[in-house]
Amino acid sequence: MKPNDTMLDLFLQKAEAVSAIVTRVADAGEALAYAVTLCEQKEACQLLVSGCEAPLSRPAEDLCDTKQAKIIAAPGLPEDQTKTLDTLCQAKGIRLVGEGLRAHLGGIDIGLTYADYGIAETGTLVIDSSSEETRLATMISEIHVAILPQSCLRETAYAVEAELIDAMRQAPNYTAFITGASRTADIERVLALGVHGPLELHILIREDA
């Protein structure tokens, strides 16, 4: 199913309104290359994770010290794509992690996952996060890169209701609606991104899927 342009436009507009960075990619290969280039070039993909430059208490400082490499976490990718990604990462000296993310709670640079659905009305991603690795990859990363197959775009949350019910009937299930990066306005109502979760959300819309 190819969503109409109006739906795609609405998704772009709503996702960008909450500071998500949306890019259209031709296929999976382009999406994987995007993530690696982002990790290579972006300032956030440094050894030091966000906040670790600030004056911290001793236990928080020690946690910062546990991160020793540039890391992309990509649990749940299809096997062939994991292989391709691994080759790309090795060429750039980036460590690729597929599981055991509890060993990296100090922080990872990029969490790369697929999204199951996109909701145009609010620029929202729907991600089955029943796997603990997926939950961690999408929360402890500095940047979350989500690949959304274009055919999985829907107009409203009601349009994924049947799929949500199906998922919930196969308990245990943990489904996340994600709209933009982690944000807070708790100090003087000034917006700040990346309070607990990702500082940036990148959405890659796959045109071939």
């Binding site: 709503k14 309104a17 909450v18 966000s50 906040g51 600030a54 004056p55 911290l56 208490s57 236990p59 928080a60 946690l63 910062c64 055991g100 509890r102 709670l105 100090g106 922080g107 609010t122 620029g123 929202t124 029943s130 796997s131 603990e132 690795e133 939950r135 961690l136 929360m139 402890i140 949350a157 009601y158 209701e161 949500l164 019910i165 998922a167 919930m168 009937r169 308990a171 245990p172 299930n173 943990y174 489904t175 996340a176 609606f177 994600i178 709209t179 982690s182 944000r183 807070t184 306005a185 708790d186 100090i187 003087e188 109502r189 000034v190 700040a192 990346g194 309070v195 607990h196 979760g197």
Partner: protein
């Protein structure tokens, strides 16, 4: 919280709030900005129609509260959730303290719950030697200051960046400057450590869906996702008024809740949890999950022909956002846990 014991003290407190220039400016700015952002969020939508639909659905759920609880319990127990019903706030606190003891939990991280404010849960747990850390930034700030929230959605709206910087200087033992972005990052790192140490995570729930035994949680910070993922045990404290028959009811309320609360189309995170999910570090690979439903007068008031309406409240905080009295003095002068509105 306001502590006046007589009218004279009360007047002094109110005058103090009126003379607080920072508070007045913060409240004024918010009151003006809120109207515009709410209007924008609802642009093109039939707000009155949507609100009426939700009111009707809530009225029906309130009338069926006992049946919905029974249905939720049956479905939740089938998938391995421990379901408890507490008649009073004290009983809810006792049940949660017992779960902590039985699971050998010493450190607890918590995401924001107005129901836990209602039962004064933290005081109860702390009195039993448990360490409880609020993880919502605003809640953490007021917890460190030993205060209650002054707004349901923005609990620390009464505080300035300078007060927060002083507080974080005490917490980290290192001098902090008052740049907001930087203070948020300090909280990010300090709280990350707390999540990792925690044995138990406590949340509320914005929705309890009887059909599937699912709870729904909305946050902007994503703290509820970490609270429900990193510790071994998850306890959700949920008012019986949050029970709705289906996911459709929850999705409909969610069309209004964030727009009314902060003028956002939707919060950054909406999390639907059905059963004890994967937990790599456990022997059986699963979390331990408890849901404590709180009555505390809800079942009685649900039967009242007039006052049952109070249970329609979806805890958006919009009533405070447009309240002229709130705008003048802020939430702490109300003299109660709750700042304004039917049950907020």
């Amino acid at each position: 919280m306001q502590t006046a014991r007589n009218l004279k003290e009360y007047k002094k407190d109110v005058q103090g709030a009126l003379d607080n220039d920072f508070l007045r400016e913060a409240m004024d700015k918010f009151a003006v900005a809120y109207r515009t952002s709410r209007a924008n969020a609802f642009a093109g939508m039939d707000v009155d129609g949507l609100v009426s639909e939700i009111a009707a659905a809530k009225d029906q759920a309130i009338q069926q509260m006992d049946a919905l609880y029974a249905e939720f319990k049956t479905n939740a127990e089938k998938i391995g959730i421990h379901v408890h019903l507490a008649a009073t706030a004290e009983e809810a606190n006792r049940i949660i303290a017992d779960i902590a003891r039985q699971t050998n939990s010493k450190k607890i991280v918590k995401s924001k719950s107005m129901t836990a404010e209602e039962t004064l849960l933290n005081h109860h747990l702390e009195a039993r030697g448990l360490e409880v850390t609020e993880t919502d930034l605003g809640e953490w700030i007021i917890q460190l200051r030993h205060e209650g929230p002054s707004h349901m959605v923005m609990p620390a709206i009464h505080l300035s960046r300078y007060q927060v910087a002083d507080l974080f200087t005490d917490v980290t033992g290192k001098a902090q400057d008052s740049e907001i972005e930087r203070l948020v990052k300090v909280a990010r790192r300090e709280l990350r450590q707390k999540y990792i140490e925690a044995d138990m995570g406590i949340t509320g729930a914005n929705f309890a869906i009887a059909d599937t035994g699912t709870i729904g949680l909305t946050t902007n910070e994503g703290n509820a996702r970490l609270v429900t993922t990193l510790p071994r045990v998850h306890v959700a404290l949920v008012g019986l008024d949050k029970l709705m028959p289906t996911i459709h009811d929850a999705l409909r309320i969610n069309r209004v809740l964030p727009k009314n609360a902060t003028g956002q189309a939707i919060t950054s995170y909406v999390t639907w949890i059905t059963g004890p999910n994967a937990f790599a570090a456990a022997e059986n690979g699963r979390k331990e999950m408890h849901i404590v439903f709180l009555d505390n007068g809800r079942r009685a008031i649900a039967k009242d022909p007039v006052f049952s309406q109070i249970l329609r409240c979806v805890r958006c905080g919009a009533c405070a956002n447009v309240c002229p009295v709130y705008r003048m003095v802020g939430g702490h002068q109300y003299g109660h846990i709750f700042t304004s509105g039917p049950s907020g």
